[in-house]
């Protein structure tokens, strides 16, 4: 995934937008993580992301939305997830990105494990992610 190229494509596709907000999540280079592996279950994960995009479009006045989540093994510094939103006004774009990220982090069907010291460790859900989700209800 090339976040810069994806955002350029979103910009080109939305000439009437007044602004584009984006978030790129990446693998931290510190903390001793050697690799991160993301797995999914496509029959649920993809429809879930499509439903999330539909909700974002309903909730905010958007002109374009890009949502990409990688799976597989990634190294420190690699991008994992990208959300970009184009809107006539900045607030809709910024909030849509925040909304999509909170849902991707806590409600999308992804499982994550990281390799530290040569060993794989599964990442447990974080309480904060659920609190983040509650902001939107």
């Amino acid at each position: 995934m090339d976040p810069g190229a994806e955002l350029e494509a979103l910009t080109a596709a939305t000439p009437d937008a007044g602004g584009i907000a984006s978030f790129v999540g990446k693998v931290r280079a510190s903390g001793g993580v050697e690799a991160l592996e993301l797995s999914h279950y496509e029959p649920l994960t993809l429809p879930g992301m499509q439903e999330l995009a539909a909700q974002a479009e309903q909730r905010f006045a958007l002109m374009g939305l890009t949502m990409i989540h990688r799976i597989g093994t990634m190294g420190p510094g690699d991008p994992i997830v990208l959300v970009g939103a184009a809107a006539r006004h900045r607030r809709d774009a910024i909030l849509a990105v925040d909304f999509c990220m909170d849902h991707l982090k806590s409600a999308a069907w992804f499982w994550k494990r990281e390799k530290r010291g040569g060993e794989w460790h599964w990442i447990e859900p974080r309480i904060e992610d659920h609190a983040d989700l509650a902001r939107w209800s």
Binding site: G25, Y41, P43, K105, W109, F110, W111, R113, P125, D129
Partner: protein
């Protein structure tokens, strides 16, 4: 044809496999009896969901998988 049980995330490690083929039809007690004790313990926790043929079951104990169905065992997600 049979029912394919798919172990996702950390359940894959507990099961020691990604998939398991069992005879159809498969109900909740059949599922618990097929997956080994450790996975069965996890399945009985509220935080583990079950999907059948691409749909998450509102009540996993009502599982009724038929020939050709895929039953996915879904531990809590760890966030994107």
């Amino acid at each position: 044809m049979a029912v394919t049980i798919l172990f996702l995330g950390p359940l894959r490690d507990l099961a020691g496999a990604e998939t398991l083929e069992v005879e159809a039809p498969l109900d909740w007690s059949g599922l618990l009896g097929s997956v080994g004790e450790e996975v069965a313990d996890q399945l009985q926790q509220e935080r583990v969901n079950v999907a059948c043929a691409g749909r998450v079951l509102a009540d996993k104990t009502a599982l009724k998988a038929k020939d050709g169905d895929e039953v996915a065992l879904l531990p809590p997600v760890s966030g994107g």
